[in-house]
Amino acid sequence: MPSADIARVRAEIDALYRRESRRIFATLIRLLGDFERAEEALSDAFRAAMEKWPADGLPQNPVSWLISAGRFKSIDRQRREKRFDHLEDRPDVAETLTDNAPAFDEREGLLEDDRLRLVFTCCHPAIAPDAQVALTLREVCGLATEEIAAAFLTPAPTIAQRIVRAKGKIRDANIPYQVPSRDELPARLDSVLRVVYLVFNEGYSASSGDSATRPDLSGEAIRLGRLLRELIPEPEVQGLLALMLLHESRREARATPDGDLILLDEQDRSRWNRELIEEGAALTRAAFSAQRVGTYSLQAAIAAVHAESPSAAETDWSEIIGLYDLLLRIQPSPIIALNRTVAVAQLRGPQLGLEHLDELLADGALDEYQLAHAARADFCRRLGRNDEARAAYTRAIELTAQGPARRFLERRRAALQA
Protein backbone atom coordinates (compact mmCIF):
# COMPACT_ATOMS: atom_id res chain seq x y z
CA MET A 1 0.00 0.00 0.00
CA PRO A 2 1.39 3.46 -0.89
CA SER A 3 2.54 5.45 2.13
CA ALA A 4 -0.13 8.12 1.59
CA ASP A 5 -2.76 5.41 1.98
CA ILE A 6 -1.05 4.05 5.07
CA ALA A 7 -1.16 7.53 6.59
CA ARG A 8 -4.86 7.75 5.69
CA VAL A 9 -5.61 4.40 7.38
CA ARG A 10 -3.70 5.48 10.49
CA ALA A 11 -5.68 8.73 10.64
CA GLU A 12 -8.87 6.70 10.25
CA ILE A 13 -7.87 4.48 13.19
CA ASP A 14 -7.13 7.57 15.29
CA ALA A 15 -10.55 8.97 14.49
CA LEU A 16 -12.20 5.64 15.29
CA TYR A 17 -10.45 5.61 18.63
CA ARG A 18 -11.70 9.06 19.53
CA ARG A 19 -15.23 8.41 18.30
CA GLU A 20 -15.90 4.80 19.19
CA SER A 21 -13.49 3.55 21.86
CA ARG A 22 -15.90 4.11 24.79
CA ARG A 23 -18.68 2.18 23.01
CA ILE A 24 -16.30 -0.64 22.16
CA PHE A 25 -15.04 -0.63 25.76
CA ALA A 26 -18.59 -0.93 27.12
CA THR A 27 -19.30 -3.91 24.88
CA LEU A 28 -16.03 -5.58 25.85
CA ILE A 29 -16.96 -5.16 29.52
CA ARG A 30 -20.21 -7.00 28.87
CA LEU A 31 -18.47 -9.77 26.93
CA LEU A 32 -15.52 -10.17 29.29
CA GLY A 33 -17.28 -9.25 32.54
CA ASP A 34 -14.31 -7.36 33.91
CA PHE A 35 -13.01 -3.77 33.70
CA GLU A 36 -9.29 -4.62 33.58
CA ARG A 37 -9.65 -7.33 30.95
CA ALA A 38 -11.79 -5.02 28.83
CA GLU A 39 -9.16 -2.28 29.11
CA GLU A 40 -6.42 -4.66 27.95
CA ALA A 41 -8.64 -6.03 25.19
CA LEU A 42 -9.37 -2.51 23.94
CA SER A 43 -5.72 -1.61 23.55
CA ASP A 44 -4.94 -5.05 22.07
CA ALA A 45 -7.70 -4.53 19.50
CA PHE A 46 -6.42 -1.13 18.37
CA ARG A 47 -2.84 -2.43 18.26
CA ALA A 48 -4.02 -5.28 16.02
CA ALA A 49 -5.82 -2.77 13.77
CA MET A 50 -2.62 -0.74 13.45
CA GLU A 51 -0.77 -3.89 12.33
CA LYS A 52 -3.39 -5.32 9.97
CA TRP A 53 -5.36 -2.50 8.40
CA PRO A 54 -2.51 -0.66 6.61
CA ALA A 55 -1.81 -3.92 4.72
CA ASP A 56 -5.35 -5.34 4.33
CA GLY A 57 -7.38 -2.14 4.15
CA LEU A 58 -10.27 -1.17 6.42
CA PRO A 59 -12.72 -3.98 7.24
CA GLN A 60 -16.35 -3.55 6.27
CA ASN A 61 -17.52 -2.90 9.83
CA PRO A 62 -14.51 -1.59 11.76
CA VAL A 63 -16.34 -1.40 15.10
CA SER A 64 -17.39 -5.04 15.13
CA TRP A 65 -13.92 -6.02 13.83
CA LEU A 66 -12.37 -4.25 16.83
CA ILE A 67 -14.81 -5.84 19.28
CA SER A 68 -14.19 -9.36 17.95
CA ALA A 69 -10.43 -8.79 17.87
CA GLY A 70 -10.47 -7.49 21.44
CA ARG A 71 -12.53 -10.41 22.63
CA PHE A 72 -10.35 -13.08 21.00
CA LYS A 73 -7.12 -11.40 22.12
CA SER A 74 -8.48 -11.50 25.66
CA ILE A 75 -9.38 -15.19 25.41
CA ASP A 76 -5.85 -15.91 24.10
CA ARG A 77 -4.34 -13.89 26.89
CA GLN A 78 -6.34 -15.77 29.53
CA ARG A 79 -5.34 -19.13 28.06
CA ARG A 80 -1.68 -18.06 28.19
CA GLU A 81 -2.04 -16.87 31.77
CA LYS A 82 -3.70 -20.12 32.76
CA ARG A 83 -0.75 -22.13 31.48
CA PHE A 84 1.46 -20.32 33.97
CA ASP A 85 -1.13 -20.29 36.67
CA HIS A 86 -0.34 -22.54 39.58
CA LEU A 87 -3.74 -22.25 41.20
CA GLU A 88 -5.39 -25.39 39.90
CA ASP A 89 -8.90 -24.75 41.15
CA ARG A 90 -9.24 -21.41 39.43
CA PRO A 91 -12.18 -21.58 37.02
CA ASP A 92 -11.27 -21.51 33.37
CA VAL A 93 -12.66 -18.13 32.41
CA ALA A 94 -11.61 -18.59 28.81
CA GLU A 95 -13.78 -21.69 28.49
CA THR A 96 -16.86 -20.07 29.98
CA LEU A 97 -16.34 -17.10 27.68
CA THR A 98 -16.29 -19.08 24.46
CA ASP A 99 -19.17 -21.30 25.50
CA ASN A 100 -21.62 -19.09 27.34
CA ALA A 101 -21.00 -15.46 26.48
CA PRO A 102 -23.91 -13.92 24.60
CA ALA A 103 -23.16 -13.86 20.89
CA PHE A 104 -21.95 -10.53 19.62
CA ASP A 105 -24.63 -8.75 17.70
CA GLU A 106 -23.84 -6.12 15.11
CA ARG A 107 -27.00 -4.10 15.59
CA GLU A 108 -26.22 -0.52 16.61
CA GLY A 109 -28.79 -0.63 19.40
CA LEU A 110 -26.94 -3.32 21.28
CA LEU A 111 -23.75 -1.26 21.37
CA GLU A 112 -25.73 1.63 22.84
CA ASP A 113 -27.31 -0.73 25.36
CA ASP A 114 -23.84 -1.74 26.45
CA ARG A 115 -22.95 1.85 27.20
CA LEU A 116 -26.14 2.28 29.17
CA ARG A 117 -25.49 -0.96 31.04
CA LEU A 118 -22.13 0.50 31.97
CA VAL A 119 -23.71 3.75 33.19
CA PHE A 120 -26.08 1.79 35.44
CA THR A 121 -23.24 -0.38 36.71
CA CYS A 122 -21.13 2.67 37.61
CA CYS A 123 -24.12 4.38 39.29
CA HIS A 124 -25.32 1.32 41.21
CA PRO A 125 -26.71 2.49 44.57
CA ALA A 126 -24.42 -0.02 46.32
CA ILE A 127 -21.47 2.17 45.28
CA ALA A 128 -20.66 5.27 47.33
CA PRO A 129 -22.12 8.39 45.65
CA ASP A 130 -18.80 10.22 45.17
CA ALA A 131 -17.31 7.06 43.64
CA GLN A 132 -20.31 6.80 41.27
CA VAL A 133 -19.45 10.16 39.73
CA ALA A 134 -15.73 9.42 39.44
CA LEU A 135 -16.33 5.96 38.00
CA THR A 136 -18.85 7.22 35.43
CA LEU A 137 -16.52 9.97 34.26
CA ARG A 138 -13.60 7.56 34.04
CA GLU A 139 -15.22 4.49 32.47
CA VAL A 140 -18.19 5.84 30.51
CA CYS A 141 -16.87 9.25 29.47
CA GLY A 142 -13.22 8.21 29.23
CA LEU A 143 -11.86 11.13 31.26
CA ALA A 144 -8.41 10.71 32.78
CA THR A 145 -8.21 10.38 36.55
CA GLU A 146 -6.25 13.67 36.71
CA GLU A 147 -9.00 15.52 34.82
CA ILE A 148 -11.67 14.22 37.20
CA ALA A 149 -9.50 15.19 40.15
CA ALA A 150 -9.12 18.72 38.77
CA ALA A 151 -12.85 19.07 38.13
CA PHE A 152 -13.78 18.10 41.68
CA LEU A 153 -10.83 19.74 43.46
CA THR A 154 -9.78 16.40 44.93
CA PRO A 155 -6.24 14.97 44.91
CA ALA A 156 -5.73 12.50 42.03
CA PRO A 157 -4.64 9.65 44.35
CA THR A 158 -7.94 9.97 46.24
CA ILE A 159 -9.94 9.75 43.02
CA ALA A 160 -7.82 6.83 41.81
CA GLN A 161 -8.44 5.03 45.11
CA ARG A 162 -12.20 5.59 44.90
CA ILE A 163 -12.25 4.19 41.37
CA VAL A 164 -10.19 1.15 42.30
CA ARG A 165 -12.38 0.47 45.35
CA ALA A 166 -15.58 0.82 43.33
CA LYS A 167 -14.31 -1.49 40.59
CA GLY A 168 -13.31 -4.01 43.27
CA LYS A 169 -16.80 -3.87 44.72
CA ILE A 170 -18.39 -4.38 41.29
CA ARG A 171 -16.26 -7.48 40.82
CA ASP A 172 -16.30 -8.98 44.34
CA ALA A 173 -19.92 -8.25 45.28
CA ASN A 174 -20.95 -9.24 41.74
CA ILE A 175 -22.82 -6.11 40.76
CA PRO A 176 -24.46 -7.05 37.45
CA TYR A 177 -23.74 -5.29 34.15
CA GLN A 178 -27.33 -4.61 33.27
CA VAL A 179 -30.04 -2.05 32.91
CA PRO A 180 -32.33 -2.88 35.85
CA SER A 181 -35.71 -4.49 35.34
CA ARG A 182 -38.88 -2.42 35.35
CA ASP A 183 -39.60 -2.82 39.07
CA GLU A 184 -36.07 -1.84 40.08
CA LEU A 185 -35.74 0.94 37.54
CA PRO A 186 -37.13 3.94 39.48
CA ALA A 187 -34.67 3.62 42.37
CA ARG A 188 -31.70 2.85 40.10
CA LEU A 189 -32.59 5.54 37.58
CA ASP A 190 -32.53 8.17 40.34
CA SER A 191 -28.81 7.73 40.97
CA VAL A 192 -28.04 7.69 37.24
CA LEU A 193 -29.93 10.95 36.66
CA ARG A 194 -28.27 12.50 39.70
CA VAL A 195 -24.79 11.60 38.46
CA VAL A 196 -25.49 12.86 34.94
CA TYR A 197 -26.80 16.16 36.32
CA LEU A 198 -23.80 16.50 38.67
CA VAL A 199 -21.45 16.01 35.72
CA PHE A 200 -23.40 18.60 33.76
CA ASN A 201 -23.38 21.13 36.60
CA GLU A 202 -19.66 20.80 37.11
CA GLY A 203 -19.27 21.59 33.42
CA TYR A 204 -21.85 24.35 33.37
CA SER A 205 -20.77 26.12 36.53
CA ALA A 206 -17.43 24.87 37.78
CA SER A 207 -17.26 24.80 41.57
CA SER A 208 -13.78 26.31 41.52
CA GLY A 209 -10.97 27.35 39.24
CA ASP A 210 -10.41 30.21 36.91
CA SER A 211 -12.88 29.44 34.18
CA ALA A 212 -16.58 29.48 34.96
CA THR A 213 -17.41 26.48 32.81
CA ARG A 214 -16.01 23.24 31.45
CA PRO A 215 -17.82 22.58 28.16
CA ASP A 216 -16.28 19.10 27.83
CA LEU A 217 -18.04 17.89 30.98
CA SER A 218 -21.44 19.32 30.10
CA GLY A 219 -21.06 17.95 26.56
CA GLU A 220 -20.51 14.46 27.98
CA ALA A 221 -23.50 14.83 30.31
CA ILE A 222 -25.75 15.85 27.42
CA ARG A 223 -24.49 12.93 25.35
CA LEU A 224 -25.36 10.57 28.24
CA GLY A 225 -28.74 12.27 28.60
CA ARG A 226 -29.53 11.70 24.93
CA LEU A 227 -28.47 8.07 25.23
CA LEU A 228 -30.66 7.57 28.30
CA ARG A 229 -33.61 9.18 26.60
CA GLU A 230 -33.37 6.95 23.53
CA LEU A 231 -33.38 3.84 25.66
CA ILE A 232 -35.59 4.81 28.62
CA PRO A 233 -38.40 7.12 27.53
CA GLU A 234 -39.38 8.03 31.10
CA PRO A 235 -40.68 11.57 31.64
CA GLU A 236 -37.93 12.44 34.14
CA VAL A 237 -35.27 11.38 31.63
CA GLN A 238 -36.82 13.76 29.11
CA GLY A 239 -37.02 16.41 31.83
CA LEU A 240 -33.33 16.11 32.71
CA LEU A 241 -32.23 16.27 29.07
CA ALA A 242 -34.51 19.28 28.53
CA LEU A 243 -33.06 21.01 31.59
CA MET A 244 -29.48 20.48 30.40
CA LEU A 245 -30.23 21.65 26.85
CA LEU A 246 -31.99 24.79 28.08
CA HIS A 247 -29.09 25.71 30.37
CA GLU A 248 -26.59 24.90 27.65
CA SER A 249 -28.42 27.17 25.19
CA ARG A 250 -27.24 30.19 27.21
CA ARG A 251 -23.58 29.23 27.40
CA GLU A 252 -22.33 31.75 24.81
CA ALA A 253 -24.14 34.64 26.48
CA ARG A 254 -23.10 33.93 30.06
CA ALA A 255 -19.64 35.47 30.05
CA THR A 256 -17.72 38.35 28.50
CA PRO A 257 -14.74 37.56 26.24
CA ASP A 258 -12.58 38.16 29.36
CA GLY A 259 -14.46 35.44 31.21
CA ASP A 260 -16.54 37.70 33.46
CA LEU A 261 -20.05 36.56 34.38
CA ILE A 262 -23.12 38.18 32.83
CA LEU A 263 -26.35 37.80 34.80
CA LEU A 264 -29.48 36.38 33.22
CA ASP A 265 -31.30 39.74 32.91
CA GLU A 266 -28.27 41.38 31.27
CA GLN A 267 -27.54 38.63 28.75
CA ASP A 268 -27.80 39.27 25.01
CA ARG A 269 -30.70 36.93 24.22
CA SER A 270 -29.90 36.90 20.50
CA ARG A 271 -26.85 34.84 21.45
CA TRP A 272 -28.91 32.11 23.06
CA ASN A 273 -28.92 28.95 20.97
CA ARG A 274 -32.43 28.76 19.44
CA GLU A 275 -32.07 25.17 18.28
CA LEU A 276 -31.27 23.94 21.80
CA ILE A 277 -34.11 26.03 23.26
CA GLU A 278 -36.64 24.58 20.82
CA GLU A 279 -35.48 21.04 21.49
CA GLY A 280 -35.45 21.60 25.26
CA ALA A 281 -38.89 23.22 25.30
CA ALA A 282 -40.39 20.42 23.19
CA LEU A 283 -38.92 17.82 25.54
CA THR A 284 -40.31 19.72 28.54
CA ARG A 285 -43.78 19.65 27.01
CA ALA A 286 -43.44 15.93 26.32
CA ALA A 287 -42.38 15.31 29.93
CA PHE A 288 -45.36 17.31 31.22
CA SER A 289 -47.81 15.33 29.09
CA ALA A 290 -47.05 12.28 31.26
CA GLN A 291 -49.06 11.69 34.42
CA ARG A 292 -46.20 12.14 36.88
CA VAL A 293 -44.16 15.33 36.88
CA GLY A 294 -40.81 15.12 38.65
CA THR A 295 -38.16 17.54 39.84
CA TYR A 296 -36.11 17.64 36.62
CA SER A 297 -39.18 18.31 34.48
CA LEU A 298 -40.23 21.15 36.79
CA GLN A 299 -36.77 22.71 36.73
CA ALA A 300 -36.77 22.34 32.93
CA ALA A 301 -40.15 24.12 32.81
CA ILE A 302 -38.68 27.03 34.81
CA ALA A 303 -35.68 27.18 32.48
CA ALA A 304 -38.07 27.10 29.50
CA VAL A 305 -40.03 30.10 30.80
CA HIS A 306 -36.75 32.08 30.89
CA ALA A 307 -35.59 30.75 27.54
CA GLU A 308 -38.82 31.52 25.70
CA SER A 309 -39.27 34.99 27.17
CA PRO A 310 -38.30 37.68 24.63
CA SER A 311 -36.68 39.89 27.30
CA ALA A 312 -35.89 39.86 31.01
CA ALA A 313 -38.66 42.41 31.66
CA GLU A 314 -41.28 40.25 29.98
CA THR A 315 -40.48 37.13 32.03
CA ASP A 316 -43.61 35.53 33.51
CA TRP A 317 -42.48 35.53 37.14
CA SER A 318 -45.82 34.35 38.55
CA GLU A 319 -45.58 31.25 36.35
CA ILE A 320 -42.06 30.67 37.67
CA ILE A 321 -43.17 31.11 41.30
CA GLY A 322 -45.99 28.61 40.70
CA LEU A 323 -43.50 26.07 39.34
CA TYR A 324 -41.20 26.60 42.34
CA ASP A 325 -44.19 25.96 44.65
CA LEU A 326 -44.77 22.61 42.95
CA LEU A 327 -41.06 21.82 43.10
CA LEU A 328 -40.92 22.62 46.83
CA ARG A 329 -43.83 20.24 47.39
CA ILE A 330 -41.98 17.25 45.89
CA GLN A 331 -38.49 18.25 46.97
CA PRO A 332 -38.41 20.57 49.96
CA SER A 333 -34.95 22.18 49.90
CA PRO A 334 -33.58 25.50 51.17
CA ILE A 335 -31.86 26.13 47.81
CA ILE A 336 -35.13 25.80 45.89
CA ALA A 337 -36.79 28.05 48.48
CA LEU A 338 -34.00 30.59 47.87
CA ASN A 339 -34.58 30.49 44.10
CA ARG A 340 -38.30 31.02 44.67
CA THR A 341 -37.49 34.02 46.85
CA VAL A 342 -35.43 35.57 44.05
CA ALA A 343 -38.43 35.15 41.73
CA VAL A 344 -40.72 36.73 44.35
CA ALA A 345 -38.37 39.73 44.54
CA GLN A 346 -38.52 40.08 40.75
CA LEU A 347 -42.32 40.10 40.78
CA ARG A 348 -43.10 42.03 43.96
CA GLY A 349 -39.96 43.98 44.78
CA PRO A 350 -36.81 43.56 46.86
CA GLN A 351 -38.50 44.44 50.19
CA LEU A 352 -40.70 41.31 50.16
CA GLY A 353 -37.77 39.29 48.77
CA LEU A 354 -35.61 40.38 51.68
CA GLU A 355 -38.28 39.45 54.23
CA HIS A 356 -38.62 35.96 52.73
CA LEU A 357 -34.86 35.54 52.51
CA ASP A 358 -34.23 36.56 56.11
CA GLU A 359 -36.75 33.94 57.24
CA LEU A 360 -34.83 31.35 55.23
CA LEU A 361 -31.44 32.51 56.54
CA ALA A 362 -32.71 32.38 60.14
CA ASP A 363 -33.03 28.63 59.63
CA GLY A 364 -29.21 28.38 59.29
CA ALA A 365 -29.16 25.84 56.44
CA LEU A 366 -28.08 28.46 53.89
CA ASP A 367 -25.36 29.99 56.05
CA GLU A 368 -22.51 28.57 53.95
CA TYR A 369 -24.24 29.00 50.59
CA GLN A 370 -22.69 31.94 48.73
CA LEU A 371 -25.71 32.57 46.50
CA ALA A 372 -27.93 33.21 49.55
CA HIS A 373 -25.58 36.02 50.67
CA ALA A 374 -25.23 37.28 47.10
CA ALA A 375 -29.03 37.48 46.85
CA ARG A 376 -29.26 39.33 50.17
CA ALA A 377 -26.59 41.76 48.99
CA ASP A 378 -28.55 42.39 45.81
CA PHE A 379 -31.86 43.00 47.62
CA CYS A 380 -30.18 45.41 50.08
CA ARG A 381 -28.42 47.22 47.22
CA ARG A 382 -31.73 47.72 45.41
CA LEU A 383 -33.30 49.03 48.65
CA GLY A 384 -30.39 51.48 49.14
CA ARG A 385 -29.27 49.74 52.35
CA ASN A 386 -25.63 49.92 51.30
CA ASP A 387 -23.91 48.98 54.55
CA GLU A 388 -25.89 45.75 54.80
CA ALA A 389 -25.30 45.11 51.10
CA ARG A 390 -21.53 45.55 51.53
CA ALA A 391 -21.45 43.11 54.47
CA ALA A 392 -23.44 40.52 52.51
CA TYR A 393 -21.17 40.86 49.44
CA THR A 394 -18.15 40.36 51.69
CA ARG A 395 -19.63 37.18 53.16
CA ALA A 396 -20.55 35.87 49.67
CA ILE A 397 -17.02 36.59 48.38
CA GLU A 398 -15.51 34.65 51.31
CA LEU A 399 -17.58 31.62 50.31
CA THR A 400 -16.81 31.72 46.56
CA ALA A 401 -13.93 29.64 45.20
CA GLN A 402 -14.60 30.28 41.51
CA GLY A 403 -12.63 33.16 39.94
CA PRO A 404 -15.25 34.77 37.66
CA ALA A 405 -17.97 34.66 40.32
CA ARG A 406 -15.63 36.30 42.86
CA ARG A 407 -14.71 39.06 40.41
CA PHE A 408 -18.39 39.72 39.73
CA LEU A 409 -19.22 40.08 43.42
CA GLU A 410 -16.16 42.29 44.03
CA ARG A 411 -17.20 44.61 41.19
CA ARG A 412 -20.70 44.86 42.63
CA ARG A 413 -19.33 45.65 46.08
CA ALA A 414 -16.98 48.29 44.70
CA ALA A 415 -19.84 49.98 42.81
CA LEU A 416 -21.77 50.58 46.04
CA GLN A 417 -21.82 54.25 47.08
CA ALA A 418 -20.34 54.85 50.50
Binding site: L87, A126, D172, A173, I175, P176, E184
Partner: protein, 121 residues
Protein backbone atom coordinates in the same frame (compact mmCIF):
# COMPACT_ATOMS: atom_id res chain seq x y z
CA UNK B 1 -22.81 -16.81 44.39
CA UNK B 2 -23.30 -16.95 48.16
CA UNK B 3 -24.18 -13.86 50.17
CA UNK B 4 -24.41 -13.53 53.93
CA UNK B 5 -27.24 -11.21 54.96
CA UNK B 6 -26.45 -9.90 58.42
CA UNK B 7 -29.44 -8.53 60.31
CA UNK B 8 -28.70 -5.53 62.56
CA UNK B 9 -31.22 -4.15 65.06
CA UNK B 10 -31.09 -1.58 67.81
CA UNK B 11 -32.07 -3.06 71.21
CA UNK B 12 -35.46 -1.34 71.27
CA UNK B 13 -36.41 -3.10 68.05
CA UNK B 14 -35.02 -6.47 69.03
CA UNK B 15 -38.45 -8.15 69.08
CA UNK B 16 -40.20 -5.96 66.52
CA UNK B 17 -40.29 -8.58 63.75
CA UNK B 18 -42.41 -11.52 64.88
CA UNK B 19 -41.01 -15.03 64.77
CA UNK B 20 -43.97 -16.01 62.58
CA UNK B 21 -42.98 -13.43 59.97
CA UNK B 22 -39.36 -14.63 60.04
CA UNK B 23 -40.43 -18.29 59.77
CA UNK B 24 -42.63 -17.46 56.76
CA UNK B 25 -39.77 -15.56 55.10
CA UNK B 26 -37.35 -18.46 55.71
CA UNK B 27 -39.83 -21.02 54.37
CA UNK B 28 -40.38 -19.05 51.20
CA UNK B 29 -36.63 -18.66 50.62
CA UNK B 30 -36.06 -22.36 51.29
CA UNK B 31 -38.75 -23.37 48.78
CA UNK B 32 -37.11 -21.24 46.09
CA UNK B 33 -33.82 -22.99 46.85
CA UNK B 34 -32.09 -19.77 47.83
CA UNK B 35 -31.72 -20.27 51.57
CA UNK B 36 -28.54 -22.08 52.60
CA UNK B 37 -28.87 -21.48 56.32
CA UNK B 38 -29.51 -18.89 58.97
CA UNK B 39 -30.61 -18.20 62.50
CA UNK B 40 -31.69 -15.42 64.83
CA UNK B 41 -29.26 -14.68 67.66
CA UNK B 42 -29.65 -13.99 71.35
CA UNK B 43 -28.80 -10.41 72.35
CA UNK B 44 -25.16 -9.29 72.66
CA UNK B 45 -25.11 -9.63 76.46
CA UNK B 46 -24.94 -13.40 75.84
CA UNK B 47 -21.80 -13.07 73.73
CA UNK B 48 -18.37 -14.33 74.72
CA UNK B 49 -15.20 -13.44 72.84
CA UNK B 50 -12.33 -15.88 72.41
CA UNK B 51 -8.76 -14.97 71.43
CA UNK B 52 -5.52 -16.90 71.24
CA UNK B 53 -2.37 -14.85 71.83
CA UNK B 54 1.04 -16.48 72.16
CA UNK B 55 -0.63 -19.82 72.63
CA UNK B 56 -2.77 -18.54 75.53
CA UNK B 57 -6.54 -18.73 75.24
CA UNK B 58 -8.27 -15.67 76.65
CA UNK B 59 -12.02 -15.48 77.08
CA UNK B 60 -13.81 -12.18 77.69
CA UNK B 61 -17.33 -11.02 78.21
CA UNK B 62 -19.33 -9.45 75.43
CA UNK B 63 -18.42 -7.61 72.27
CA UNK B 64 -16.51 -4.36 72.59
CA UNK B 65 -17.89 -2.13 69.90
CA UNK B 66 -20.44 0.29 71.31
CA UNK B 67 -22.76 0.30 68.29
CA UNK B 68 -26.30 1.49 68.14
CA UNK B 69 -27.34 -1.51 66.09
CA UNK B 70 -26.27 -5.01 67.02
CA UNK B 71 -26.05 -8.24 65.08
CA UNK B 72 -29.39 -9.97 65.59
CA UNK B 73 -29.25 -12.84 63.12
CA UNK B 74 -28.09 -13.99 59.72
CA UNK B 75 -29.25 -15.61 56.49
CA UNK B 76 -26.88 -17.35 54.12
CA UNK B 77 -28.41 -17.14 50.66
CA UNK B 78 -27.59 -18.17 47.12
CA UNK B 79 -28.15 -15.34 44.61
CA UNK B 80 -27.33 -14.72 40.97
CA UNK B 81 -25.78 -11.32 41.68
CA UNK B 82 -25.92 -8.41 44.11
CA UNK B 83 -29.27 -7.22 42.74
CA UNK B 84 -30.92 -10.52 43.58
CA UNK B 85 -29.24 -10.56 46.99
CA UNK B 86 -30.58 -7.04 47.66
CA UNK B 87 -34.05 -8.18 46.61
CA UNK B 88 -33.89 -11.10 49.04
CA UNK B 89 -32.54 -8.90 51.84
CA UNK B 90 -35.34 -6.39 51.33
CA UNK B 91 -37.88 -9.12 52.12
CA UNK B 92 -36.26 -10.13 55.42
CA UNK B 93 -38.78 -8.89 58.04
CA UNK B 94 -36.36 -7.00 60.36
CA UNK B 95 -35.30 -4.88 57.33
CA UNK B 96 -38.28 -2.71 58.27
CA UNK B 97 -36.86 -1.85 61.69
CA UNK B 98 -33.10 -2.28 61.44
CA UNK B 99 -30.66 -2.85 58.61
CA UNK B 100 -29.39 -5.80 56.61
CA UNK B 101 -25.73 -5.86 55.65
CA UNK B 102 -25.26 -7.92 52.48
CA UNK B 103 -21.77 -9.38 52.13
CA UNK B 104 -20.54 -11.64 49.35
CA UNK B 105 -18.67 -14.66 50.62
CA UNK B 106 -15.38 -15.73 49.11
CA UNK B 107 -13.67 -19.08 48.68
CA UNK B 108 -10.70 -19.92 50.84
CA UNK B 109 -7.67 -20.27 48.58
CA UNK B 110 -4.89 -22.67 49.63
CA UNK B 111 -1.58 -20.89 50.05
CA UNK B 112 -3.10 -17.43 50.47
CA UNK B 113 -2.91 -15.65 53.81
CA UNK B 114 -5.93 -13.71 55.01
CA UNK B 115 -4.11 -10.39 54.79
CA UNK B 116 -3.06 -11.00 51.19
CA UNK B 117 -6.60 -11.94 50.18
CA UNK B 118 -7.98 -8.77 51.76
CA UNK B 119 -5.42 -6.64 49.91
CA UNK B 120 -6.02 -8.32 46.55
CA UNK B 121 -7.07 -5.78 43.91
Amino acid sequence: MKYLCLVYLSPEHWNSASDDACIACGDQLRRSGKLLGGSPLHPVNTATTVRVRHGQVSVTDGPFAETKEQLAGFYMVEARDLNEAIQIASKIPPAQFGSIEVRPTRELVPGVTQAAAAAAP
